[in-house]
């Protein structure tokens, strides 16, 4: 327990309202942009820059407060709770998309194909549609043939489509990401034992693995668009494939960036002590979280895809 009356309540701060302004301009600009308003991109980028700048100052402030010894053990626990429940909220965000995938594969498509209560739906609306997964022939194609508005992909990313696991990119991406979870753990252990250079090496290696993963993911997307006819618009298969892997990729990008910042803080500024390294620890928790999400994707999008 902290000694009495030491919980640090910061003084007035301009950061929150400026962060709100930055966030607002970013989303307002994004919405205007999507709606075809010419000023949209400018507002979006200005808002984004303001938002990023405010966050930069905010994090710097928090770090320097901690280094000045203002944060007692109780306040540090508040940060732990904060990060933990933030990650849980991210879990629920992914749950919505995994849930959508589950619903489409197990309920919506069978019904469209005429199973159970869907007999009339199939007969009168989507005659000739058959439920398959990966969904290559959309209901639209089944009914309208070449005139279909929503067409399926030419090929899928499913494991059933590949000859050997050793040449299969998602497998190697899984190896890379799982390895990176181990390396970030080694970095943590090294830090706990106050071995600075080992910490830096393991953390640097983790960041490198994260970047390799992202490069491979981009490569896979290019391959999908150029060679497999698989795009975001390829019916529900393309939708779920790109939305799930895409949001995961966005989270890996954020996680890699967080770990890179921690790496630079350690290398350039000598931040983090063996008993005071919450910034790094929270980034590593986030990293483990995106790793677990990937395992879910690997199973449900690729292996069982």
């Amino acid at each position: 327990m902290a000694s009495e009356g030491t919980y640090y309540v910061p003084e007035q701060s301009k950061l929150p309202i400026l962060a709100s302004l930055g966030l607002f301009l970013t989303v307002f600009g994004a919405a205007s942009w999507l709606n075809g308003n010419d000023s949209g991109p400018t507002v979006f980028f200005c808002g984004g820059v303001l938002f990023a700048y405010v966050l930069w100052v905010w994090f710097s402030t928090v770090i320097s407060e901690n280094m000045a010894g203002l944060n007692d053990a109780q306040l540090k626990r508040s940060y732990v709770w904060g990060m933990g429940w933030f990650i849980f909220s991210e879990v629920m965000f992914f749950a919505a998309f995994f849930g959508a995938l589950w619903y489409v594969r197990n309920l919506a498509l069978p019904w469209l194909g005429g199973e159970g209560d869907g007999a009339a739906t199939n007969e009168f609306l989507w005659k000739g549609f058959e439920n398959t997964w990966p969904l290559m022939t959309t209901p639209d194609m089944a009914v309208n043939g070449d005139a279909a508005r929503v067409t399926g992909p030419e090929q899928s990313m499913s494991f059933s489509q590949v000859d050997s696991i050793w040449t299969w990119l998602p497998f190697w991406n899984t190896v890379i990401l799982l390895t990176s979870s181990v390396t970030v753990h080694f970095a943590h252990t090294a830090l706990k034992n106050a071995k600075r250079s080992a910490f830096n090496s393991w953390l640097g290696l983790t960041v490198l693995l994260g970047i390799i993963f992202l490069v491979l993911q981009v490569w896979e997307y290019i391959h999908a668009y150029n060679d497999l006819g698989l795009t975001l618009q390829s019916g529900i298969y393309g939708t779920t494939f790109f939305m799930l892997t895409g949001f995961h990729g966005a989270h890996v990008t954020l996680g890699t960036f967080m770990l890179l910042v921690m790496f630079l803080r350690s290398v350039l500024k000598g931040h983090f002590k063996h008993d005071d390294c919450f910034g790094f620890e929270s980034a590593s928790w986030y990293w483990h979280f995106v790793d677990v999400v990937w395992v879910g994707l690997f199973i449900f999008i690729y292996i069982l895809g």
Partner: protein
């Protein structure tokens, strides 16, 4: 810790103080309550008589949509967060909220989000017109262009809610004074802890579903498009997976408020404290497995209909425990009927009516008759108006002397209560009848046989609206002056907040109190 309130506008814009932030949340909520109320009055004015006389049908739809969105996300939720900000640190003996700057950020997102949402009224094609539940494809294929702004507004108000609830969880779990064990916490704190978990679990799901809408609208995905293998019903499932816990997000803190007020004015400790805690947790758990009772008529397999019907009925058990406990708390109590108590008793009675009509709606085969009629409107307004709104009003009267150090005008408070009570029953009770007789919701015109009841409802709505002006006047008068309140304010109320002076000092419990 010595920093006191700054002067001028900067005090509010840059504050890190839980009381300032709570005050801003409450005023913001009241402003949204009036705005959403005006939209409601546009609806009721149009429905005063059959036929189309005041607004175009499309604008009528915008009004029903904006009324719902503003009341749910702008009025009720921020009001409870405001109460949480003001009261939780004082109730658990904490110096402030756990993460004070993030606290202010949670608040300041809201004015921007609602400015953007309200601005859609002036955009080309008008505001969202697809109902507050924004079902696809109404909200995707057939939506006005302003839907994009609506989506991003929901995103950032969701971010605000998530940060707010993280703050509340961290505060409750980490900032309690020594000796304040979990089972000694006031029920308001308990209900908010559980509500915060609900928020963290479902606001990301809401963010997910509006993201899917955004992708369907602008990037050609097929989430809610059967032509590509998606399903518009999928939208409803995801939305209501958020939406049903959301209903409890708006009512659990109300349970906490009423559980604080009734013991004070019955002069008896709350009956069945532990069972109240467990009942709240049970309701929260059940809220995750009942969502499809909003969609009985959408075409679900029989097994689904049955599961969601029985699961929904189960909620009546813990809710019954609560109502029983409130009534038993009052039983043989030395009761007095100050304004907060009047609102709380009305809460117990009228919320129970709303609960019973909910039970009727839970019966799947019967729901086929009630679905999308005014009976549903009557039901959820009975749980939200005398439920959420009355409890917020009761909380304001109950804690206002603590906040500003002055007693409110009791006569004016009671007048406010009786006008509001009369107004709301006149508005919503007849809706049961027209609903059962088949009047559909969200339609600007109706057949002649519904005319009398609708006229009564419209009169009641304007009365209810007018009563709120009295409330505003009373609150402002109390802030500006009035009889000085004592530290205790009421007769032997329970809780740490009554151990500090009235008005509560800018910083309370910088040194944690000893809790026996």
């Amino acid at each position: 810790m010595a920093h006191g309130p700054a002067t001028g506008l900067s005090r509010w814009m840059f504050t890190t103080n839980h009381k300032d932030i709570g005050t801003m949340y409450l005023w913001f909520s009241f402003a949204m309550f009036l705005l959403g109320g005006v939209f409601a009055l546009v609806i009721r004015a149009e429905l005063f008589e059959p036929g189309l006389q005041i607004v175009e049908p499309n604008f009528f739809n915008q009004m029903t949509t904006m009324h719902g969105l503003i009341m749910v996300f702008g009025a009720v939720m921020p009001a409870f967060v405001g109460l949480a900000n003001w009261m939780i640190p004082m109730m658990i003996g904490a110096p402030d909220m756990a993460l004070p700057r993030m606290n202010n950020w949670s608040f300041w997102i809201l004015p921007f989000a609602f400015a953007m949402l309200t601005a859609t009224l002036f955009m080309e094609g008008g505001a969202p017109n697809f109902g507050w539940t924004f079902y696809a494809p109404l909200s995707t294929t057939y939506a006005p262009p302003s839907v994009t702004f609506f989506i991003f507004a929901v995103h950032i108000m969701g971010a605000s809610s998530i940060m707010g609830s993280i703050n509340i969880i961290a505060t409750i779990l980490n900032m309690r004074a020594p000796g304040m064990t979990l089972m000694k916490m006031p029920l308001f704190v308990w209900t908010w802890l559980i509500t915060a978990y609900l928020l963290i679990a479902v606001m990301p799901v809401l963010a997910g579903v509006v993201t899917m809408m955004l992708m369907d609208i602008h990037f050609g995905t097929s989430f809610f498009d059967a032509a590509g293998g998606g399903d518009p019903v999928l939208f409803q499932h995801i939305f209501w997976f958020f939406g049903h816990p959301e209903v409890y997000i708006m009512i659990l803190p109300a349970f906490g408020v009423v559980s604080a007020i009734i013991p004070t004015f019955a002069r008896k400790p709350l009956f069945g404290y532990a069972s109240m805690v467990y009942a709240t947790a049970s309701i929260a758990f059940l809220s995750f497995i009942v969502w499809a009772h909003h969609m009985f008529t959408v075409g679900m397999p029989l097994a689904g209909e049955l599961f969601f019907m029985y699961a929904t009925m189960l909620i009546a058990v813990p809710t019954g425990v609560k109502v029983f406990n409130w009534v038993t708390t009052m039983f043989k109590g030395a009761m007095t009927f100050e304004t907060p108590m009047l609102f709380s008793i009305a809460f117990v009675i009228l919320f129970t009516i709303g609960g019973f009509s909910g039970l009727m709606l839970a019966i799947a085969p019967a729901d086929f008759q009630y679905h999308d009629t005014y009976f549903v409107v009557a039901h959820f307004h009975y749980v939200l108006v005398p439920g959420a709104i009355f409890s917020i009003t009761a909380a304001v009267y109950y804690w206002l002397p603590k906040w500003c150090g002055n007693m409110y005008n009791e006569t004016m408070g009671k007048t406010h209560f009786w006008l509001a009570f009369l107004g709301l029953n006149l508005t919503f009770f007849p809706m049961h009848f027209v609903g059962l007789a088949g009047m559909p919701r969200r339609i600007p015109d109706y057949s002649l046989q519904f005319a009398d009841f609708n006229m009564i409802a419209s009169c009641g709505a304007f009365l209810f609206g007018a009563a709120q002006i009295l409330f505003l006047f009373n609150v402002i008068a109390t802030i500006r002056g009035g009889k000085k309140a004592t530290a205790e304010v009421w007769e032997n109320p329970e809780g740490l907040e009554w151990t500090v002076a009235s008005p509560a000092p800018y910083h309370t419990f910088s040194v944690p109190p000893d809790v026996k």
